[in-house]
Point group: C2
Chain length 368, copies 2
Amino acid sequence: MSFKVPEDITICLEEEMARKFLERIWGKQPTYACVIGNTETAKIPGLSAAGANPEATDFTPAADMELLFYGKCKCIDGVPVTPDGIPTPGIVTMSSIKLSGMPFFVVNGGLRVRPHVPYFELDGAPGDDIRTGRSVKDPEKVYDRAVLAGQNLAKISNYLVIAESIPGGTTTALGVLTALGYEAYGKVSSTLPANPHELKLKVVEEGLKASGMKREAFRKDPMAAIEAVGDPMMAAAAGLAVGAAETIPVLLAGGTQMAAVLAIIKGMDYSTLNNIAIGTTRWITKDGNSDIRSLVSQIGKVPVLSANLNFSLSRYDGLKIYETGLVKEGVGAGGSSIAAMAASEGKITAHTILDEIEKNYARLVSRR
Amino acid sequence: MSFKVPEDITICLEEEMARKFLERIWGKQPTYACVIGNTETAKIPGLSAAGANPEATDFTPAADMELLFYGKCKCIDGVPVTPDGIPTPGIVTMSSIKLSGMPFFVVNGGLRVRPHVPYFELDGAPGDDIRTGRSVKDPEKVYDRAVLAGQNLAKISNYLVIAESIPGGTTTALGVLTALGYEAYGKVSSTLPANPHELKLKVVEEGLKASGMKREAFRKDPMAAIEAVGDPMMAAAAGLAVGAAETIPVLLAGGTQMAAVLAIIKGMDYSTLNNIAIGTTRWITKDGNSDIRSLVSQIGKVPVLSANLNFSLSRYDGLKIYETGLVKEGVGAGGSSIAAMAASEGKITAHTILDEIEKNYARLVSRR
């Protein structure tokens, strides 16, 4: 193997497969698609920090997409922030897209607030609180349509980067991973530095019980798992991945939520797994309060790559604070950074991405 | 010029430019996008045959798209037919897509009935009867979003084929062409062999009057023309074309409706015209009751190509009857055939397309 992994990308799982995956996408233009959705689960107090307050989380996915298209949000003032005012990781993705010029698409998995941008409609509905045990309507319809979209995108793409923006998504990830029989407690990530693992588990257990289904019944039925305790991003992302990975490589761009998507893919079409990798941030892979390696290795032999974004030397406090474990990932921040580095054959680095992020941050946020 | 135009494609306007356009797309995989919409104008008695009856025209665009994805319709039984039972030109497009394997996308310009397929949503509304003089809501919003979608598709496409399916569309084409100051009376096409030119003109005149705008005010304002007497396909198709034609060739796949789209493109972004051609069927270019050459040459120097589809020797009466001037064009039948021929460097011919059409026809229609 003469291919050298650039120092701004770390291989975290499946060294050899990861190296081969990187080699395949090296110098190639990616196609980026972000699947967005809303779930009422995000509004359970204490669960999500992907919005200034629980009600604001409804706007976060739409606002993130507007950021990619217009360099500013339309459905809200400013940009999505945590309750402490920390800005969305969408700024990272926006910067990677700007630097690399990669084409980007939006896919509506099921939204309460629609973005002012063009997007793929799959006829999904926004998700309910998973404590009802009936959180997503007809995920199979959405999955089937996403497969078709993925197949067509694959015909004109070198490889597909699939990202997500859905507040509350790590709780639904715990839900689906648990339903599918994986050991996931304590292993999903959080936008908060103090990961509310016990609250998440309580919510998931309540949903699984309310679903009225036996635990074993979920094991081989990912759509039933989504329907009971999942979210509207999942079926869309899994379908896109399966449709595309029949013919091209797919980089699932996200943290532990993408482990849940991977588990769904495995249950729906095992054969596509060997064309898939996960790309995330260093903030996820070095996080002591979650464990993406354990989750992914329970599912299958799938490489995990991380972009070594490091904001500790940033001029801006609002970015520096990412190093304390706030936010960590979202909108495919890590995967889109890896894709930008790979497309440019390493000319785009973690450093140039941070420069671009700071420029955008200064324009968008730091006006106080 | 050593490039030889294949005998199944006829150049009908701008010989030299057409030849160069063909040469540029020769051997290249196209990206096909069909813009669909509904207008109440289609339900004016005597205007459109793009449905078994006026109410059925609501379902035609959605059903056409389902045909492309599934090889059969979902929102209706059978396939869209004229009142006489003649099947949709979507069968032609479906056959060209099947033979060539080209990727295809659906764009919702403004629908009353949504297809059971993935599609780009641009937040357009279905159109009203143009006699109201207020036929389309906020075409500029739809145009702007379509430009963004076109720009992103262009990054991963060699060239873009833009088709349409919207019953009543030749009347709205007359409306917009007239509003923009072109001599269009008697020149737009029809799904009917006896083209109801006078009825169309009466409807358009009524709409222009009801709009309350002075004739001159429309001349330089394509969006105002669409808003008054256009349809929801137009802004979406024009925006897609402008967004894509900034960087790649665009083939407008349709008859005289695409002349109206061309006029809109000219008014919005003149500079993209030199990257655009029209591709249609022989049934349009040899039609004695319409005049696409006159329409296009009034607008600018834009090549018109036609696919020499000839059903006179078909085994099926329902296809043979296309030779009498029924249907003629739609769903990009002509342009998608040209694209299939060009992609295959002439290996796909009018003959092989007819063979495929007959196979699909036999399966779908000829069960009586």
